[in-house]
């Protein structure tokens, strides 16, 4: 294991048993996570991004299992852990997760304060009194005004944005090495979303944890991600640094995602859209999963699964377009000069 890497995933397959048949939700994913970086995993619903991170914390649903491959975390082979007892040493303490909906992530009948202190007592081995102090500190740090008073309030007395701050405070109270943010801002308003993203960035500076940031919105990750992995139908189809994905993407799906962003649309022109719908998990995928929706699809895409091609040391894409025999295809015009284009757009306001 590379010292730089905190988490290494090799050839991971995750499958679920649904009514007698085996469904593959994650297909042959290899991935590593470097210390203190922010890795964004971008994908649509059903692309497997949440399932992947659930596998990191042993929180797959009862009918799900790792059918192939390994996950290593700092010398522990997570993919071998079976019972919850073994996971208790990892979850929270090493890898914590915050979820999409702050409205339901908190226990409705316990006070905000007690839910933070509970974790402090458990993971930081403090007395209740000390824990309360630490909890109030954390609340202040995550931007809760009047924390001493609000310590004794219940979740229903908090707004959505405030609750997400509390959820982050709880995750921080675990002192994790890795923080998985599973669409933490999807349920929030844009202004709150911007604030929460800023907060996560600030806290990362201070606490030096590693972030896996899951989202379906490419726009959101531009400001926060160091690297981006794009997922489609249980596969990572492209992975690279933030700039590589935005300015030099290679996979047609990434192109499509970028070019359909309304921020890039010019008035009066039709918005670039991806035809069709994502493939159903119940169907066996032959060839490239994206092929049926890919306007650049070649016959080979319907025959054989494309391998991972290396673009640079940090940039990989899973498309036959990078094979030598493939025709030279330019990415859509609208994203060719993305930076230039965005500069124009933002200059206007």
């Amino acid at each position: 294991m590379n010292d730089e890497n905190i988490l290494e995933v090799k050839n991971l397959n995750v499958s679920f048993r649904v009514r007698g048949s085996e469904i593959e939700a994650i297909h042959d994913i290899s991935l590593n996570l470097k210390k203190h970086e922010t890795l964004a995993i971008v994908g649509e619903s059903g692309s497997g991004k949440s399932v992947l991170t659930k596998a990191f914390t042993g929180m797959l649903e009862q009918n799900g299992r790792i059918s192939h491959g390994t996950i290593d975390y700092k010398g522990t082979r997570l993919s071998d852990l079976r019972v919850n007892k073994q996971w208790d040493k990892i979850r929270g303490k090493e890898i914590a997760t915050i979820f999409q909906d702050p409205m339901t992530s908190l226990d409705p009948i316990h006070t905000i304060g007690s839910q933070i202190s509970e974790v402090v007592v458990k993971h930081q081995k403090k007395t209740k009194k000390e824990a309360k102090k630490i909890a109030i500190d954390l609340m202040e740090k995550t931007g809760i005004p009047n924390a001493v008073k609000r310590y004794n309030e219940y979740p229903f007395e908090y707004s959505g944005g405030m609750r997400q701050r509390i959820v982050i405070a709880i995750a921080l109270a675990c002192r994790p090495e890795v923080l998985i943010c599973d669409e933490p801002t999807t349920a929030l308003d844009v202004t709150i979303q911007a604030q929460i993203l800023d907060l996560i960035k600030e806290l990362q500076e201070e606490y030096k944890f590693t972030i896996i940031f899951i989202t379906h919105d490419l726009g959101v990750v531009a400001s926060i991600a160091d690297r981006i992995a794009v997922m489609y139908s249980g596969r990572i189809i492209e992975i690279g640094t933030c700039e590589e994905i935005f300015y030099d993407s290679r996979h047609p799906y990434t192109w499509n995602l970028l070019s359909s962003l309304p921020q890039l649309a010019r008035k009066g022109e039709e918005l670039k859209s991806i035809p069709g719908t994502p493939p159903s998990l119940y169907k066996k995928i032959v060839g490239d999963a994206f092929a049926p929706r890919n306007q650049y699809a070649m016959s080979v895409d319907f025959k054989a699964e494309p391998p991972m091609f290396k673009v640079t040391d940090t940039h990989y894409a899973k498309t036959w377009l990078l094979d030598k025999r493939a025709p030279k295809i330019q990415k859509p015009e609208v994203i060719q000069n993305l930076h230039q284009h965005m500069l124009e757009m933002t200059a206007e306001n």
Partner: protein, 498 residues
């Protein structure tokens, strides 16, 4: 909150009033009044004495508020007073009849003659609303120092004072009141007792003939027991008298022995009985059954949910399905049989009586078991619903162990609806008690209801409906209040708007 509670209580009282009134109207208008004698053995005996029979029947109707009845003596008295005519008598004759009839017409009565003696008596059918009026008019009686108006005792002192009484210890003692001890304390539940407010639900007939309904239901039962009263100065009296119940008795009825003992006019008292009252019996059985059913079902549901889909859950689900599907009667008999055969427990309550612990085991355990299935189903359901909620997912991701999650979070959240269901349980227990008490011949309210119905004891039926409804209404209220205590999200005032 206060305003809400006030209206809530008002509504509850209205519910009780409505249900009791409707029951009263239904029973007193649909059941022919002669039916009340269908189970009365005295009727047979009186068959040969028609005058007595009429007198007996009309007295019974009178007591049950069907009609007003004046026998000859009372009638003549009334008429003499009203008309200041001392000549009139009750014997047959036109002159008497005219005078009596004139009075009767004025007052809505009808003059009738006894079949054999041909003397006159008067009856007046009471319309339903008047009966209801009397029922509610007499319902609440408040004792004051002016309650007793005894012409033979003009010097009766009238006061209320707190003193250390030699019979009952510290108490609020009254004179001129109906009851001597207005407020007193002793070791029996609920420790503080009062005699200021009494309820009067009418008079029982034909069973417990002449006793007030409330005494039938709330009075202690069984054989009398004596108790030692230490009056100080080495005086110890052994008596079966229940001194707490001392009531005023006029000189004419009083016996000298009692007067000598108590040194005042409060010589009318009940005895100490060995067994709890009907309501007490039901109450005891109910409380223990409640505890038993929660003690069984909460852990059972907890582990079924915890190990959902595993063996324990499957077996548990099977058991619960059986419990629901099997008619309670069959279930009770089967269990009673098992209890009797395997553990030698009495299969009838009176065999060993209320004083024996063994008598209580089967009825209470069965009563408790009857509600286990419902509770398990719901609690398991609530637990499983909670398991799937996001906060549990988050609790797990923040590193809490399964034990901690179940104990601190899932269990508490799932308990909230259960707490609110407690009143529902109580209503269920009342239903269950009707069955178990009947099968075990347990002298409680549950057995009393079918007994009273079979005996056509309308007063008792109404009384029981009133008490059951009151318990039901109050327990629902209690459940909602409990809910506010356990769930921070709920405020009663807003709940009322929904």
């Amino acid at each position: 909150m206060k305003k809400y509670l006030f209206f809530r209580i008002l509504r509850s009282l209205l519910s009780i009033f409505l249900v009791t009134t409707i029951t009263y109207i239904i029973i007193y208008s649909l059941i022919p009044k002669r039916d009340v004698f269908s189970q009365d053995p005295l009727i047979q005996k009186l068959a040969s004495r028609p005058d007595k029979l009429i007198d007996y029947k009309n007295n019974a109707y009178h007591n049950m508020n069907y009609l007003d009845y004046y026998d000859t003596e009372t009638l003549v008295n009334k008429v003499q007073k009203a008309t200041s005519n001392t000549d009139v008598s009750g014997s047959h004759g036109k002159k008497n009849f005219d005078i009596l009839n004139k009075w009767a017409k004025k007052n809505g009565f009808k003059i009738k003659t006894y079949p054999s003696s041909k003397r006159y008596y008067a009856i007046r059918d009471l319309p339903l609303w008047e009966r209801l009026g009397r029922f509610y008019g007499n319902l609440v009686k408040i004792d004051t120092p002016w309650s007793v108006q005894d012409k033979n005792n003009p010097n009766l002192k009238r006061y209320l004072k707190i003193e250390n009484d030699k019979w009952v210890g510290w108490a609020l003692v009254g004179s001129g009141t109906k009851y001597r001890y207005q407020i007193y304390f002793n070791k029996s539940f609920p420790f503080i007792h009062q005699n200021i407010i009494h309820f009067d639900l009418g008079t029982s007939y034909p069973t417990f003939s002449g006793t007030s309904v409330l005494d039938v239901i709330a009075g202690r039962q069984g054989a009398t027991v004596s108790k030692k009263y230490n009056l100080g100065h080495g005086v110890i009296i052994n008596s079966a008298d229940n001194v707490y119940t001392r009531q005023y008795q006029s000189k004419t009825h009083r016996n000298a022995f009692d007067y000598d003992r108590y040194k005042d006019s409060y010589t009318n008292l009940d005895q100490n009985y060995q067994d709890p009252s009907m309501i007490g019996t039901s109450f005891r059985a109910g409380i223990f059954a409640l505890i038993i059913s929660y003690a069984i079902s909460i852990p059972m549901a907890f582990f079924m949910a915890r190990f959902k889909g595993k063996l324990f859950d499957k077996v548990g689900t099977g058991v619960v399905t059986l419990l629901i599907a099997i008619p309670s009667l069959a279930f009770i008999y089967a269990f009673r049989y098992i209890g009797a055969q395997l553990f030698g427990l009495p299969d009838s309550f009176p065999t060993q009586g209320a004083s024996s612990f063994a008598s209580w085991v089967m009825p209470t355990v069965i009563l408790g078991l009857l509600s286990v299935s419902g509770l398990v189903i719901w609690f398991r359901r609530y637990m499983i619903d909670q398991q799937q909620s996001d906060y549990v997912k988050f609790a797990r991701s923040k590193g809490l162990t399964d034990n901690e999650i179940y104990r601190k979070h899932i269990f508490k959240n799932a308990s909230i609806p259960i707490v609110q269901n407690i009143p529902g349980m109580i209503i269920g227990l009342i239903e269950g008690a009707t069955i178990t008490e009947n099968i075990f011949a347990m002298p409680g309210m549950g057995k009393m209801l079918p007994d009273a119905i079979l005996a056509h004891n309308n007063s008792i039926v109404i009384g029981l409906v009133f008490i059951f409804t009151t318990i039901g209404v109050l327990s629902v209220l209690l459940g909602d209040i409990l809910m506010v205590i356990v769930d921070p999200r709920i405020k009663l005032s807003t709940k009322g708007d929904e």
